[in-house]
Amino acid sequence: MSASTPDPTFLRGMTQRRLGRRDALRISGLSALGAALAACGVQGKAKAPGAGASAAPDAVAKYWTGKAKTGHVDFANWPLYMDPKHPELKQFTKETGITVNYQEVIQEMGPWFAKVQPQLSAGQSIGFDLMVITNSVQFAQFRDSGFLAPLDHSKLPNFAKNAAASYSKEAFDPGNVYSVPWASGMTGIAYDENKTKRPITKLADLWDPQFKGKVGMFSDTQELANFGLLKAGLNPDKSTSADWDKAADELKKQKDLGIVRNYYDQSYVDALGKGEVWITQAWSGDIFQKNLSDGTNFKFVIPEEGGTIWTDNMTIPITAKAPVDAITLIDFFYGVDIAASLANYINYVCPVPAAQQQMRTSAAKLSGEDKTAALQVANSPLVFPGQDIYSKLHYYVSFDSVADQQTFQKTFEPIVLS
């Protein structure tokens, strides 16, 4: 098959993706949007990421005109992000009559983008009307490809009233044009004190030869790089490609010494539970939930050298079949009592500050152990971080260009895939 090289013009005709996407959108009767998207794509190329916001008002009207309630919404989220009994969703169905199909199908950003990218670029529904995605490289890819529906803020009264003001200024989506936060979280270290035999406090513990073969790191290159940078004493957010090399050296050293058992995605929780790793990079709320559901006693710390903060965001894919129902659900999560109920279970940073008071009030009504547990969450710095925690947290590495991002990928990918 490789013997006869086919005619290049034929190949070119077959494989010009961008043109194809525009065609598909035209055919599906969304020609205006298609043109807007195409314009957006070209713009994104020229301007800095995030500049697509200026075209928003027009795009919002165009997208939302003629969209109606369907009575059902398909929701794609990460595991360990809601009480398995879904009490909040049940209440939503009771109040609005909209049924929700909730699926924990997202485990890592890369695979998720790769899975739905072909569908979205062909203008097909991905089977979900609402998805929760992290402020990672892939967020920019979703946004710059025009895969995210611009949000109609007139449909988000609770968000306007209750969301913490800081969220509208986040660099990946200023003004919340395409996304509003589901929860924020921190990347730190989780460990099993029965095995480590000592409290873990710093990043250097992840490099401690004493834990040879028992250390877990993330396979997501951004998460991995962040810790390498912090270990090297560098700030991820402001890092340059020279810094990346230093961080990669640290991480290679850690790997070559046999300290790292493996690089994990969401499966690190399982590995920690099975005793495969004793100390691992971890996301703040997961460990709390694991302890809750399995009666384990794992610890989570933000290392002295610092951790990172990220935000998982609710977004509506551009091909959603029920965007109105989806945005209704998004706003529902910004009710103070709902936000409190969610935070109480998932233990991630709650985007609704007023939820803390709500949680304290409802905790006061409980007694005994339940009360202590509830108060613990309400006062937890992991759910409502104070200035002292925030000062230790860093933002992700940001990229000025696609080439920049490819260099980053080339620097860190060989560590995970070798």
């Binding site: 190949l11 010009q16 490809s145 493996n262 690089y263 696609v402 995970v416």
Partner: protein, 287 residues
């Protein structure tokens, strides 16, 4: 008229299936070839530019994983022969009326999903699982010892999953041997070892060769076993291809790597066929 119809009959019969294979087996290869020569990024699109550098980059970046995969597959194949030959031999010559039952038992794992049975091994071999926990309790292995994440676990998984591909061809070859030939050798005062070496082995070899062909190729390109049972130091080329396609959406590199893997395997098959004489391999192919 009737004759024309008869002449056309096979083409009509072949047409739907043949077209399907053309559309979804042959043309995808061309699409992949084109993709492997493109340049760009998933957001702004990839464009065809005869970018041969994808190939050199892929080899530069991932020859370790490619060579590792070939080594794992080679070790796995040798282990498979060692495991499968005696079993096939015993069933073929001493299985008696229970032969189908034994073959059926060997095929039992195929009734469980590939992914599920590999995960099952993960559960068995886990650090504090039913195999390692007792050994650690008895102090036979150090506390930090682990099987998961090692090359041994990955090769073990490969051998487990592809054993039937080796047993069946060897069995078929052995089963065809006319026992009178062996008896004739014995009558001519060949001792059992000599009879085995001079009679049975040469007759069984085509089966072994077929088995090697049928197990080496899928083992070298597997990514499930190393993903489930391995770690980042056992990464196989299949995992890299998978990750380039399904994690980073770096299609051109992924396509180039796929072609490199395919080329290596094809060259291997042809060299192998040459060494054995093409006729044998064609016989195998025809079967």
């Amino acid at each position: 008229m009737n004759r024309v119809k008869r002449q056309l009959a096979p083409y009509f019969l072949v047409l739907p299936g043949g077209l399907w294979l053309l559309l979804f087996f042959a043309i995808p290869m061309i699409a992949m070839l084109s993709l492997s020569l493109q340049q760009g990024d998933v957001v702004y699109g990839y464009r065809f530019t005869f970018h041969w550098q994808n190939y050199t980059d892929a080899i530069d970046g991932y020859h370790t994983q490619l060579i590792r995969s070939l080594i794992y597959a080679a070790v796995g194949t040798i282990l498979l022969i060692a495991l499968a030959f005696p079993v096939a031999y015993w069933i073929a010559f001493y299985g008696g009326r229970r032969k189908p039952t034994y073959l059926f038992l060997l095929l039992l794992p195929f009734f469980v999903s590939f992914v599920l049975r590999t995960i099952s091994w993960r559960q068995i071999l886990t650090d504090e699982g039913p195999v390692l926990h007792p050994l650690k309790q008895l102090g036979l292995v150090p506390d930090s010892y682990h099987l998961l994440g090692t090359p041994e676990a990955v090769i073990g998984g490969l051998v487990y999953n592809f054993l039937p591909f080796m047993v069946l061809p060897i069995y078929v070859a052995l089963e065809r041997i006319d026992p009178r030939v062996v008896e004739a050798a014995r009558d001519l005062y060949a001792n059992p070892a000599l009879a085995f070496r001079k009679v049975i082995l040469p007759l069984a070899l085509p089966g072994v060769f077929a088995g090697v062909l049928m197990s080496f190729v899928p083992m070298a390109s597997d990514y499930v076993n190393s993903e489930v049972l391995g770690s980042s130091s056992t990464t196989m080329i299949g995992q890299v291809i998978q990750s380039k396609y399904l994690v980073t959406s770096d299609y051109p590199t992924a396509a180039a790597l796929s072609f490199i893997l395919m080329a290596v395997l094809l060259i291997g098959i042809f060299a192998y066929a040459r060494a054995l004489g093409t006729e044998d391999v064609m016989k195998v192919a025809a079967r």
